[in-house]
């Protein structure tokens, strides 16, 4: 635990044993017959000004994590401590006050802006909700924030449909930034954008983070985007974190076979280096009936017998955490006990 949030000693967000189960109803009386375990017991921490990358294939539950952390959906179990307060059981009024410090940027810049509101109204809405300033001051703050996010303040009365995708994403960032929060969930903020625009947005996010000491939970489905912006990276598979380590450490020395497979898919801008590609067989299993034991065993190239039966434990190698029987055996030298 000592190496958690290594850069800053102060912990901003601590998520413990977070679970999100969605009931599946069937039959005559709509009885709950099963649960989709979108998020199944995950824990992590984010320090002040730190960025945690959260990576996984689509459907692995990473967006659910992002929404649960902000309590946009109520977690089934677990605690989310933000600045020491447990959000999961906070009364509505207190939660609303807390929202000034934690915000979210969405994936789709076309669906994330209300088409009936002007840019000024969209960005200024947060100020109106939390009663900051009067009309004039608010307009000034909106203009100011637009400028910070690389938007021309003259566009304040325009409607979202008059902007390009990249500009719209900037509006979304301005909306999250206007209250000067301490923490922002970035829910795949660039995956819907053209590649040429992606780097601009990423650069903007990095710049803002350094200027305002922001902490990010940066969700993405490919490692290359996350690499650049994150201090630490967590890899998720089917509702569980399989590996969590310092960004540079993870890329240099990926331990989990799933992380290795993901990394081998990242293109390297070096034609002389021939990579060995690990291709995963089959599809992601349904979270409705996740495989027993280690959830990755159905597609794992290294799977051994025990993987089918026993869930792997957390193995902490100097702050580099991994959940894998095979790795555990290699490192500790002893066969994993059941």
């Amino acid at each position: 635990m000592s190496t958690e949030a290594s850069k800053n000693s102060e912990v901003l967000l601590r998520v413990e044993h977070l679970k999100n189960y969605f009931p599946v109803r069937q039959g005559l009386l709509s009885r709950v017959t099963a649960y989709v375990k979108a998020v199944d017991d995950i824990s992590f921490e984010i320090g002040v000004g730190e960025t945690l990358g959260l990576v996984g294939e689509s459907g692995c539950g990473k967006t659910t994590v992002g929404h649960s952390v902000l309590r946009l959906i109520n977690p089934t179990e677990g605690t989310v401590l933000f600045q020491g307060k447990d959000l999961t059981h906070l009364p509505a009024a207190e939660l609303r006050a807390m929202r000034q410090d934690m915000q979210i940027i969405f994936q789709d810049p076309f669906s994330s802006l209300n088409p009936r509101m002007t840019v000024g109204a969209i960005i200024g809405e947060a100020l109106a909700i939390h009663g900051r300033g009067d009309r004039k001051e608010r307009a000034e703050m909106v203009r100011d924030t637009m400028q910070k996010c690389g938007l021309d303040p003259a566009y304040i009365n325009r409607f979202p449909h008059e902007f390009s995708g990249g500009q719209r994403q900037r509006i979304g960032i301005a909306r999250a930034l206007v209250l000067s929060p301490k923490f922002i969930v970035c829910d795949e903020p660039v995956s819907a954008l053209d590649v040429s625009i992606q780097s601009q947005i990423i650069n903007l996010l990095v710049e803002l983070k350094e200027r305002y000491n922001l902490a990010y939970l940066f969700i993405a489905h490919d490692l290359s985007v996350v690499q650049y912006i994150s201090d630490r990276v967590a890899v998720m598979y089917l509702g569980k974190i399989v590996e969590l380590a310092d960004s540079t450490e993870l890329y240099r020395n990926p331990l989990h076979p799933y992380t290795q497979a993901l990394l081998s898919a990242v293109p390297v801008p070096d034609p002389t280096r021939r990579k060995q590609r690990t291709l995963l067989p089959g599809d992601v299993p349904s979270p409705l009936n996740p495989p027993s034991g280690c959830r990755f065993h159905t597609r794992c190239p290294l799977a051994i017998d025990i993987c089918k039966k026993v869930e792997p434990r957390e193995l902490d190698v100097e702050g580099h955490k991994v959940w894998c029987h095979v790795v555990e055996e290699q490192i500790t030298g002893s066969p994993p006990s059941s």
């Binding site: 609303r96 969405f106 994330s112 009365n157």
Partner: protein, 362 residues
Amino acid sequence: MILGLFGLLVGLAGWHAGTLWDTLAHTLEKLFGANVPYTLRDLDFLVSTLFLLGMLAALVLYSGLSCQRIRQADRTAQGPERQWSIVKRQFLKNRLAVAGALIILALYLVAFLCPFLAPYDPVEQGDRVQERLLSPSAEHLLGTDRFARDVFSRIIYGSRISLLVGFLAMGLAVTLGTAVGAVAGYYGGWVDSVIMRFVDMMLSFPTLILIITVIALWRNQSIWIIITLIGLMSWMGVARLVRGQFMALKEREFFQAARALGAGTGRLIFQHLLPNSLTPIIVSATLRVGNTILLEASLSYLGLGVQPPTPSWGNIVYDTKGNLFTEWWMPLAAGMAIVITVVGYNLLGDGLRDALDPRLRE
């Protein structure tokens, strides 16, 4: 020309305001007196109210539009085309829709200008011996009925009933339906289930028969009761529509963003969900007006609607259907007025839908 038109409107407004004042006391007395059949003066009151409200709405709309135009002028010329102008162009391109709009406009004008347009008093009976059941002529364009009343004048005055019923019943239905649908869609879960089962049940009643039941049992055929009943039986479609819209919008990221900002229920509904549901609500409201008019006409045709001597198109047909094989022009002309009006509303609704629905836009 615009000044002249404006002068005309102001004049009309003044005239209607006068009528309004004149009939207010009379109508209040009516409202609280039991079972007094209402008269043409009540109608004057209603129509005047509507007209003044319409004027007010037009003024607000006009000032809003000119504000927008000024703001627009500030912007660079090569900016993307305004959403509204696309809609306007699409609508004007659709000739049928424009025709529908013109029909409705004409209906409104006729309803407001009844006293100037109708050559005779619609209820005053002429000489029952000499002027009864006359054929169409220059004096009586559509002849006279068995009480020697001028049928043409009666049809002109009948437009008021259709206008009122269409407007008020639809207004009631849309308000009620939006409220119910909004609650079901916003809260979801068991609230939604309970409400939607109730909507299903309401949809199972054959509307006309239930209205007949209530009207017959309460022995009250005032236009208020009829409009209320029609409104109370027509909101279910709107409720379903609004619920569906809300459900879909709740999945959109801007709604989640507003929640993340800490927006409360009121703001979420009135700032985010409702404005984005307005387009389909307006379209369905327009398409529904026709149905409410048809419902009133059917009631009147059964003799259970608006009571004579007040003319409504439905009760003119009811009154004169016995003359179908001889003085056929009377029932057929009154019925034709209904058809034209409802066609107008439906053309307008179709046109609005085509213009506002981006899926159909090339």
